[in-house]
């Protein structure tokens, strides 16, 4: 079971407290009505699914209830870092210190 550092609670908690919520940084187009079919369908359905580092969303559903972002290596299943929603994607090579 993964240990996930919640960037709001600033503590690492077991995976069962969290709920995965898909890829991160997939921003909803600001004006959906002007988005073309291709742009819109890519926003809806196209995801990166990388072999390696992925940015993904989690929600601390049995804790503070907040959505946050996480960098995870899909090969090793290691969580590299977590950060608050709205913050830019950090450099995975220099993971910031997270609370334990």
């Amino acid at each position: 079971m993964l240990l996930i550092p919640c960037p709001y609670c600033e503590t690492s908690r077991p995976e069962i407290e969290f709920r995965h919520a898909g890829e991160a940084h997939v921003a909803r187009p600001l004006d959906p009505e002007t988005a073309g079919d291709k742009t819109w369908s890519e926003y809806l359905y196209f995801r990166a699914n990388p072999k390696g580092v992925i940015a993904e969303r989690w929600r601390h559903v049995s804790g503070c209830g907040r959505f946050f972002n996480c960098l995870r290596d899909t090969i090793s299943d290691k969580i590299l870092t977590t950060y608050r929603a709205g913050e830019p994607r950090p450099d995975p090579q220099a993971p910031k210190e997270t609370g334990r």
Partner: protein, 995 residues
């Protein structure tokens, strides 16, 4: 004769505490401290089971967790039957009853043994080949009619228990600084150096006793004292430390992410006798900051013809039975080995009065310290020998060996074999650590750690006693230091513990001729020739060979067989062994009972049950209940003599005639509060909300971003900045999650607070033409008149004196109210309404009548009439879309080409030609009789009391353009004629809503 293979002294058994037990109905005796296996050895029982595929007679191969053959069923009274336990790990108890498996009618005369003679039919890949044919009398005829019935009857190990398990199982979470797995010399030394530093230490071992190889050590000394003395003083020292938890009979079965390990503890008989409430097993989920793996090594068998005869045993296991249990595996043994350690076995047996008829070494020379001592003791030693077979059927009677002087047959009652030692790298591998091949010694060793773990002792290839102790001490100290404790590693000196060397992999040349059964995997009956066949038939990777032959796929996961299988495959492929690959080690290390995983989650505790405040009233009034998510909902209230159909018809009729009461408490409720509350709802529902007046309600449709209907419900405005949102019963949590998601991540600028209030409001729906008359006497502070409180409005006031949010809404098409009330008042208010309703012939109705009445009105149920691919237009809900709204979640998707395609499935009503026939929900709809091309399906179907005929809702391609068209609903091979109609069957104009 009783226990004629038992020594009069020695071992760790208590001869003062004799125990009686039965095996296959026959009584035997043993002693406290025995395992079932050692007691059988002491009684001279060689035959303990039949093999999985060929039903070959089998005996004990080992003395430990790696045992592939001696799987037995343990009978401990009603409901307490456990199949597939390893006899080597079952502690002997008074009155124990064990049964052999895989045989009929008896172990000695087994009908399934015919499989052995028929074995040419059951070659490797047998299942794949028969799955694919032969097609004797048509496609797959042979498989369906011949093989599958046979395979189904014969398949599987043991028999599943048939009664509920009366025991309880406990589950715990635990944390520690250092977890040490394995209590041999390395594990004990590791635990000691970590524990003395003050670190919190857990030491676990799957055996009944701590000590590992030390338990059978008779000669070596550690720091000047006998190994067994060192063992007891070390254990006493550890037991006295408050920061140490000692866990014998506890298997570390799995190593998961972030140093999370699963431990399965078998609770001791003593504890269970002292405390009848003690669980049978405990599952420990341990998060360890650091882990030391001291899992030891497993001896390998040799691969030669008929190497599975009962009495053929791993050499060191004979020493374990001798030293720990004072039991001789035979009176005259032959030893075949490729490793020095078997000489130590020979010396120990020789010293205990067992005749060692000869040691046959596959190697050309044996010059180690132990062989030298064996020579000094006058034992017969032949090097450069080859083991050509075991004779005997139900028990080994002789060994056939080939030496420079020719082939000899040497009589014996036990044939002890050793191909050397395989480090147990299972847990290291489970932790995602790689293994590396040690070419010189022919073993895989743990490579770099991926998690916070390190190996020590034999599992790291450090086989010598001194080596293991010092490796363990260092590992324990290192682990403790990594958690912040100042730990030092002791340095141990040992004497009289000479290193042993050697090893052999695969099958000896010629030993596995293709007619012979030279077993590699004993539990799955895989022979050397099967692996060669797999290679001939094109398997190249061990992953393919494994699946084709099933080698290593039994419950023992190939503990004794994997390396031999790899070596044989590598030789057949003519490639270096590491190139064939190594299969992945899976959890669990040895099987764990379902009970341990289930824990308390059974019966009433399997899943939480949610009951409404009115549940007990419904139960007292004869309600049948249905499960809706975790909720128990009253389904219908049958009176004496009524079946469900009659009860539902009565409930519907009376509600439409007078008034009905319905418990709608399970509806999801969310309070949406804040200056931007209306703005958020504008974004999340298709409907407009900005201009909804305070005190009014609106039916809302929620889409996901893909444009599909996700949920629906009535939303009321309590104040400019406060809404009472209702959701479907099953959708409550999902809707709140969806709202939070958009609020937190897409529209964080909105000032809104969301609170689940599902449990804060009980809801009593009062529906029917006399609904207003029924509730009026109880209402305070609300004008109920048609003008003052129109359809789709909400008023706050008091009901029976309790604060209420009274909504005028209808899910039946009748005049209706929903009384939201605090749950603590709900039952008494319901009872008051029920009493008052007597004069009006009021009825209580359940979810079935609710379903029927809403279907008569064409109201959809999200999840029943929609399936996650329905747009508002598909469901006939375009009217609920705010046309002037610039954006809402899902809006843009509704313009995508596929979403406006003309042939989309649309919600329609169906009338069967035969008015009495109620269609099946989910049934496929076709355009022509006999067609198999579905153009839609039935989503809801009921007998409608209001119409006096059957009705159905369905989704059909271009359904709304087919009004009046005749279609067919498939029911088995029949096609039921139906015609398409409007989905609103009753009171199309909605006049009844006003009562």
């Amino acid at each position: 004769m009783s226990q004629r293979f038992r020594l009069s002294a020695g071992g760790r058994i208590d001869r003062g505490r004799p125990l009686e037990f039965t095996f296959d109905g026959k009584s035997y005796s043993g002693y406290h401290g025995d395992t079932l296996a050692s007691a059988l050895v002491a009684n001279g029982v060689k035959l303990v089971g039949r093999s999985y595929k060929y039903h070959r007679p089998r005996g004990l191969l080992s003395a430990g967790a790696e045992e592939p053959n001696a799987l037995v069923g343990l009978v401990e009274g009603p409901g307490r039957f456990t199949p597939n336990l390893r006899a080597t790990q079952i502690p002997l108890t008074q009155g124990l009853v064990a049964r052999s498996q895989n045989r009929w009618p008896s172990l000695k005369y087994d009908m399934g043994g015919v499989n052995d003679a028929l074995s040419p039919l059951f070659s490797a890949g047998f299942y794949y080949k028969t799955f694919m044919g032969p097609n004797w009398f048509g496609k797959n005829w042979a498989w369906l009619n011949v093989f599958e019935p046979i395979v189904r009857r014969a398949a599987g190990l043991g028999a599943a228990p048939t009664e509920p398990d009366p025991d309880c199982y406990a589950q715990y979470f635990e944390h520690c600084d250092v977890l040490v797995v394995g209590s041999g010399p390395a594990g004990l030394a590791a635990a000691k150096s970590a524990a003395l530093s003050g670190a919190r230490v857990i030491l676990c071992d799957d055996s009944l006793e701590f000590g590992g190889s030390l338990l059978s050590e008779a000669h070596a000394t550690i720091d000047g004292v006998a190994a067994q003395v060192w063992l007891s003083s070390t254990l006493a020292e550890l037991a006295a430390l408050p920061n140490v938890r000692l866990m014998p009979r506890t298997q570390a079965f799995g190593y998961y992410a972030e140093n999370f390990l699963g431990l399965a503890e078998i609770v001791s008989a003593q504890e269970r006798e002292a405390n009848p409430d003690a669980p049978r097993e405990r599952l420990w989920q341990v998060r360890a900051r650091e882990v030391v793996l001291a899992c030891g090594a497993i001896e390998r068998p040799l691969v030669f013809p008929d190497n599975d005869r009962p009495g053929v045993m791993l050499a060191d296991s004979a020493r374990v039975f001798l030293r720990r249990h004072g039991a001789q595996v035979g009176k005259r043994v032959v030893i075949a080995t490729a490793h020095d350690s078997a000489y130590r076995v020979a010396l120990d047996l020789h010293g205990a009065g067992v005749e060692v008829a000869g040691i046959f070494d596959l190697r050309d020379s044996a010059d180690g310290e132990q062989p030298r001592r064996a020579r000094e003791a006058g034992l017969t030693i032949v090097t450069g020998a080859r083991i050509a077979g075991a004779l005997g059927k139900l028990a080994v009677s002789a060994a056939k060996v080939e030496t420079a002087s020719g082939t000899q047959t040497i009589s014996c009652d036990a044939l002890l074999v050793s191909g050397g030692w395989t480090p147990s790298v299972h847990l290291h591998s489970q932790s995602r650590g790689k293994v590396v091949w040690d070419e010189a010694r022919g073993i895989f060793l743990p490579g770099a750690s991926v998690q916070r773990e390190r190996s020590a002792g034999a599992c790291k290839g450090e086989f010598g006693l001194g080596e293991a102790l010092n490796s363990g001490a260092l590992a324990g100290a290192e682990a403790a230091r990594a958690t912040g404790f100042a730990a030092a590693a002791a340095a141990y000196t040992t004497e009289n513990a000479p290193d042993t060397l050697g090893g052999f992999l695969g099958d000896a040349s010629g030993a596995g001729a293709d007619q012979a059964k030279a077993f590699v995997d004993f539990q799955n009956d895989v022979c050397a020739k099967d692996i060669r066949l797999a290679v001939r038939e094109g398997m190249r990777s061990i992953e393919h060979v494994k699946r084709y032959t099933t080698t290593g796929m039994a419950t023992d996961q190939g503990k004794t067989s994997n390396l031999n299988a790899l070596a044989i495959a590598a030789k057949a492929l003519d490639v270096p062994l590491p190139q064939v690959g190594l299969t992945t080690f899976r959890q669990p290390y040895t099987p764990v009972s379902f009970g341990a995983f289930a824990g308390a989650s059974r019966g009433d505790l399997f899943d939480p049950i949610r009951r409404t405040a009115i549940h007990d009233w419904a139960e007292e009034h004869g309600a049948a209940f249905e499960d809706v998510g975790l909720w128990k909902r009253a389904w219908y209230f049958a009176r004496r003599g009524e079946d469900m159909h009659a009860a539902v018809a009565r409930e519907c009729r009376r509600t439409r005639e007078t008034v009905g009461l319905f418990d709608a408490s399970t509806l999801g409720k969310i309070e949406v509060v804040g200056p931007d509350a209306a703005k958020l709802l504008e974004k999340l529902y298709t409907n407009p909300w900005a201009k909804l007046e305070v005190g009014r309600c609106r039916y809302g449709v929620m889409l996901n971003e893909q444009g599909f209907i996700m949920d629906d419900g009535v939303i009321a405005r309590l104040a400019p900045d406060r809404f009472h949102v209702t959701t479907t019963t099953g959708g409550a949590a999902r809707v709140l999650h969806h709202m939070e998601d958009y609020l937190q991540t897409e529209f964080p600028e909105l000032k809104v607070w969301l609170t689940s209030t599902s449990e804060q409001w009980a809801v009593i729906a009062v529906q029917g033409p006399r609904a207003r008359d029924l509730i009026a006497p109880f209402v305070e502070g609300i004008d109920l008149s048609r003008e003052a409180m129109p359809h789709m409005s909400l008023r706050e006031g008091r009901f029976c004196g309790a604060p209420t949010r009274l909504m005028r809404v209808s899910f039946t098409g009748e005049l209706g109210f929903e009384i939201n009330i605090a749950p603590e008042y709900a039952r008494s208010i319901w009872a008051a309404l029920w009493d008052a309703g007597r004069d009006m012939d009021a009825v209580a109705y359940g979810t079935e009548a609710m379903h029927v009445m809403r279907a008569e009105k064409g109201y959809i149920i999200v999840g029943q009439d929609t399936d996650g691919t329905m747009t508002p237009a598909d469901a006939g809900l375009e009217w609920a879309i705010g046309k002037a709204k610039k954006d809402f979640v899902g809006k843009r998707s509704l313009r995508r080409p596929d979403m406006i395609a003309p042939n989309r499935k649309q919600l329609v009503g169906l009338f069967t030609d035969d008015a009495r026939l109620v269609l099946g929900e989910g049934a496929q709809i076709v355009a022509k009789r006999g067609s198999t091309q579905a153009i839609g399906h039935v989503t809801s179907a009921y007998a409608s009391p209001a119409l006096g005929r059957s009705i159905a809702l369905a989704v059909v391609e271009s359904g709304r353009s087919r009004m009046g068209e005749g279609l067919f609903v498939r029911l088995g091979d029949a096609a039921i004629p139906v015609s398409v109609t409007d989905p609103i069957f009753y009171d199309k104009k909605g006049t009844r809503l006003d009562g």
